[in-house]
Each structure stands twice: as structure tokens, then as C-alpha cells.
Symmetry: C2
Subunit: 350 residues, 2 copies
């Protein structure tokens, strides 16, 4: 267990949860969303599924909402934030691993060429996860991520990564939960990485985070057991891996899914192709002045097939530039991330 403040972080979060309850005021939910279009569709859907006695009513237990993380709940430029975290770690560990200088994906990272890392696809991602997870104990890893999320800044915006969450999406999470939804993250990123800060940033507890993971072994000596990660990928939660992981972890089909890239296509397809009321949402990054503008030509968060599939499937395409009054939480916001200390995470593993 870390600092006492870490122990009480969930409580602090509950308090902030209360503080943000203004967001769910029935008179004006989702204040950072412009009033027409996207917002109206979301509010109408939530009214539909919560209207008791109607055909479209969904019992609270079945109100499962799943969210991609990178590009959906926070930004993903100039590169997925976990890769930027990893780049820092690889540089830090490089003195002990001189062989990385000529080994991929480490060479790409050390040369600052993260796009070439991306081009290596899953094998590169797997090695990246391995290098940052298998190399240290989970306890060390959690401290490292907690330190990073508390202090590291995005090289392009100069903002803390933790301040690059989307205010309209924080409001959406709170709004859905206030209406009986259980909110999940389903990310291609590493689950152990996300679980360190999912509660603090999004109010989503570790057990509602689904992500890519390495195989692990259980070792016990005289009642002192440890779970040790191997360097073998157990599951990559991207593309068809998303509905498969949802089925494995949650065991029921969501009624609400939000993503922003082709990696989310199958998750949205799986969510919205069943009978009954269903909601699919794509965040379209159209805002070069406040965030970034990119879609089918981007190496990070490419949105092409999923965008084409939006219309025939009836998915809401959120136009960031037009639909959002603001992108990031204002400096003096009462949002989820405001005022939080990021100490050692709760010791949920070791």
C-alpha cells in the first residue's frame, strides 16, 4: 500500500462523482455538447431505454455501455499515449539492454521513429507490451504508470496526458451511469496500464477495464504467492478481439458502444446488430484547431471502413468540431480529473 492518499482515492472519487452530478441534471444533461444533432440523439436513446413499460425499455442490468479509450475518451496524437509511455521506459531501460539498439521495435523507439513501430503492427505491439510489462514486477509497473500519468506531458500540446481526456465524453459516462448504465473500457491498449488510472480519470473501476494482456503464471512459496507476467501475449483486444473479449468478460451484448477507428468496427457491429434498441457512436476527429483532424489517412486511429459502415448501420458520427462546445476539461473544471492527486495506485496486484 502506498501513500494514505492512494488508499482514499476511491472515496475522493466518489465525492467528485457527487460534485459532478450537476452534469446529469435532467434539465440540461451533457453541457459540453451542442444542443442539436448528436446530443439530441443520445438523450433520445437514453430516454427510450429507461422508459418503463415501453417496448424499448431495457432493464438496468442489461444496460452495458462499452467505450474504446484512445481517441474516444482521450486523445491519441502524436501517438497512442501508451506508446509514448513505453518510449520513455525503453529509453530508461536502454543502458541495461544495449542489444535493443538494433532490435525492433526498440530501435524505432530509440530513434524516435514511432511511426515505424506502428507499421510493425501486432508483433511490434506485442514486443512493446512485453518490454514494459514482463520486465518488471506488476507493483513496479503500477508505480511507474502512476508516476507517469501524474507528471508526464504530451510533447505536442504540452498538456498533462491526464488533462487530455474529452470533457464531453466524461459527461457522457456520468450521464449514462446516472441512467443505470454500467460503463466499460474496451481498449486495444494494455489492461494493466489502463487499470492504474481508469478510476481516477473516468470513474471506471479496474474490473470494468478490458484490454490486451500477457499470459501470467502463478507462483507460490510458503503461502507467499505472486502473479508473474510472461512475455507471451494472451489476447489482443483489437478489431474482432473486442467483441470476443466483451463476450468473455461481460457475457452479454452491450446496448451502447463508442469508438473512433477501424479497430472499433467489430465492437460497434456486434453491439448494434442484435434486436432491441442499440446505439453505436463514432468520434470523428474533425477539429484541427482544438484537437486534431484525421481519419482514413492517419497511421494512428485510422477511421475508414468504420466511417463507411456508419450510415448503413445507423451509427451516430460525432463531428468533434461542430458537436462539442469544448474538447478538454476547462482549467477550473469540476470534472472527474480535477483536483485529483495521483499517488501510488491501490495495491491491487503484486
Amino acid at each position: 500500500m502506498g501513500f494514505i492518499s492512494g488508499r482514499y482515492a476511491p472515496y475522493l472519487l466518489m465525492f467528485l462523482g457527487l460534485a459532478t452530478s450537476w452534469v446529469t441534471d435532467a434539465a440540461s444533461p451533457l453541457p459540453s455538447w451542442r444542443d442539436d444533432g448528436a446530443k439530441a440523439r443520445i438523450v433520445e436513446f437514453v430516454k427510450q431505454v429507461t422508459r418503463e413499460g415501453s417496448d424499448s425499455f431495457v432493464p438496468p442490468g442489461e444496460r452495458i455501455a462499452v467505450f474504446d479509450n484512445d481517441g474516444t475518451l482521450w486523445s491519441e496524437k502524436p501517438m497512442y499515449f501508451q506508446m509514448l509511455y513505453t518510449a520513455d521506459q525503453v529509453k530508461r531501460l536502454f543502458p541495461e539492454h544495449p542489444e535493443w539498439k538494433t532490435q525492433q521495435p526498440f530501435a524505432s523507439i530509440l530513434n524516435g521513429n514511432l511511426l515505424s513501430l506502428l507499421a510493425q503492427g501486432s508483433p511490434g505491439l506485442e514486443k512493446m507490451l512485453t518490454a514494459t510489462h514482463a520486465g518488471m514486477s506488476t507493483d513496479e509497473f503500477q508505480r511507474s504508470v502512476a508516476h507517469w500519468i501524474a507528471s508526464a506531458k504530451n510533447p505536442v500540446t504540452g498538456m498533462f496526458y491526464r488533462k487530455m481526456v474529452f470533457q464531453p465524453m466524461l459527461e457522457l459516462l456520468v450521464y449514462l451511469r446516472a441512467n443505470g448504465f454500467k460503463t466499460y473500457i474496451v481498449s486495444g491498449g494494455g489492461v494493466d496500464f489502463l487499470r492504474v488510472f481508469s478510476s481516477s480519470l473516468y470513474g471506471i473501476p479496474p474490473e470494468q477495464v478490458i484490454g490486451s494482456r500477457l499470459k501470467a503464471r502463478y507462483k507460490s512459496r510458503d503461502g507467499h504467492p505472486a502473479i508473474v507476467k510472461t512475455d507471451e501475449l494472451a489476447f489482443l483486444t483489437d478489431k474482432q478481439g473486442k467483441p470476443l473479449a466483451i463476450n468473455e468478460f461481460i457475457g452479454r451484448r452491450p446496448v451502447f458502444a463508442a469508438g473512433n477507428s477501424d479497430g472499433d468496427l467489430q465492437m460497434l457491429e456486434w453491439t448494434t446488430s442484435a434486436a432491441g434498441p442499440r446505439f453505436g457512436m463514432l468520434i470523428h476527429h474533425t477539429d484541427a484547431s482544438r484537437e486534431w483532424a484525421y481519419d482514413k489517412k492517419s497511421d494512428v486511429g485510422r477511421l475508414d471502413k468504420a466511417l463507411k459502415a456508419a450510415k448503413p448501420n445507423g451509427w451516430l458520427v460525432v463531428d468533434m468540431a461542430n458537436d462539442w462546445r469544448q474538447v478538454y476539461p476547462p482549467e477550473k473544471s469540476r470534472g472527474l480529473t480535477q483536483g485529483l492527486v495521483f499517488p501510488q495506485p491501490p495495491a491491487y496486484q503484486d
Copy 2:
């Protein structure tokens, strides 16, 4: 979506949840537990972790409680109930699979020799899961299990399987939840099997059920996707598989674990070996008159190593004959299972 009554089952459950709230009356929680010994230790532990400001206080978000199913939440004799379900299915499907007559584990089932099936260990269990899961669509499978749990009776007691849940454990689940715990099932049994009735029997939603599972594939044709089980085991949630699955699914260490056999040893070890207040509990089947009496010599639910480990680890050993006023819910009980219809399960997969 099945009958309308299936759609409303969660609501019905919520209502029954309210109806059973008498169980959590602070003056007399756990009425089916005798007042001394085991009950006193449980109540004292719950007081400790919920006492704000004390050193032993555990924030609600970290109050994770995990329960084995077979032999812990319901009986497991003369054989794990899923095996008895499977035996019925194998017999039903036999006309289409004459080759089973000489193939294990089917031959054992067809000969009524379930103990020989047990002796085949994991490979036998894997084939059993395969035969009952991979052979039909998940939709068919769910209907089949729902029908079985509604109508099938135990060959020894003549009771409905759904009436062979332990009343003291139902009360314990309700008591823990009323005190801010999130309750999970972590069973060696098949997760798809358990998820059909976990809400109805125990008030535990599908997403809080962790169990053995087959690998699956995602197939999509023109936006009509399906998740299809393969015949390859993805994970067996027994022994060290239990803490590994807890770490994978929940991502934090439980503070409370209950089991009844050597298959639960590592789960209890993992739960109770961390710092802070922890509770490990073993159900010792000592009651030949009201249930069964067995431990280290039993083929089903063998309890040997875990029983020896109880004392050095400070685990509570529940003596069923002495600690429980009653074993099963009384006929006119207001318990969780009473009065429930078991129609088609919610269509959480297809």
C-alpha cells in the same frame, strides 16, 4: 429475446432483492447461521472493514468477494451438477453420435460411470465442455441450460437443482453486498453454463461470473455477426487458474474468498496473503443427515491440502453440521430463488 418474463427477470430479481433485505437487518444478520463461532467471525470482519477511519477500513471499491460455486454455493453430489447436465445432453445427442459409445469421456457418461469421467481429469473435462458447448449455438445452449435449471432434479435428493443452493450462503452474499462488497463467482465450471442462472439463483450478474471457457471466433457476414465457440479450451479456472483469472478479470486482489475444496486453495492463498484485512473461508461438508459428509477421500470436491492449510493461514472452516441452522432454503422461504420463473435467459449472446 425470449418470453417477456425473461426480459423482466432482472427486475423481478431486484424486487426479490428488496424482499430479502430483512436478512441484512443489523440486529440479526445471517439468520441461518448459528450465533457463535463462524458467524461471529464473519460479522466481526465485516464490521472491521466497514468502520470508517479505522486502520482496517477498506474503501467500498476494494471490497471484492469471490466465491467458488460447486460445494460452496450449492451442493455437488453425487457429481458436479454441470456433469449431470452434460450426461443428459450426451444421452440426448447420442443417436447422432454413435461413435461416442467407445469414445471417452462419452462412454463413461453413457455407462452411467461418472466417477470414471472424473478420473480423466482436465482432458475429460475439456471434452465434456466441448461436447456440450461447441455442438450447439450459444443461443441453443442457453435455452437448454435454462430449461434444465427450471425442471431438472437431483437423482439422489429428488430436489430441484435450483433448490439445492445453500441458504446460509445466499444470506452471506446479500449481507456482503449490503455492506458494499461486490460479489463474484469464480468456478472451475463452464462460464456460459453458470451465467444462465447466476442472477436468478445468487443475484450475481453474468459479468461477475468467472469460469472455464472455450476459445471463440468472431464471424461477420453483411453486418450479421456471430460468436462461435471452437472446441479448444481457452482457460480452465481451477487451482492456480483461479487467482490468474481473478487477476485477469477483476485486476485487484479480493479481500474475501470462500471455497470448499483443494481447487480453491490458491484462490484463498492469493486472497489472504496480502497486507490488510483479509478473510478466507472453507465450507467443510460435515453433515451426512442434511447434506453430505466428505473431505479428503472424496472424488468430487476433495478437501485435503486446503483443509491442512486453513489453520496456518487463519482461514475460517465452516462446520456445516454445527454452524448452519439450515442448509437449503425452506419451502416457503423468501430467499433469492423463491418464486422465480426460469424462462428463456436474456439474449446476452447469439
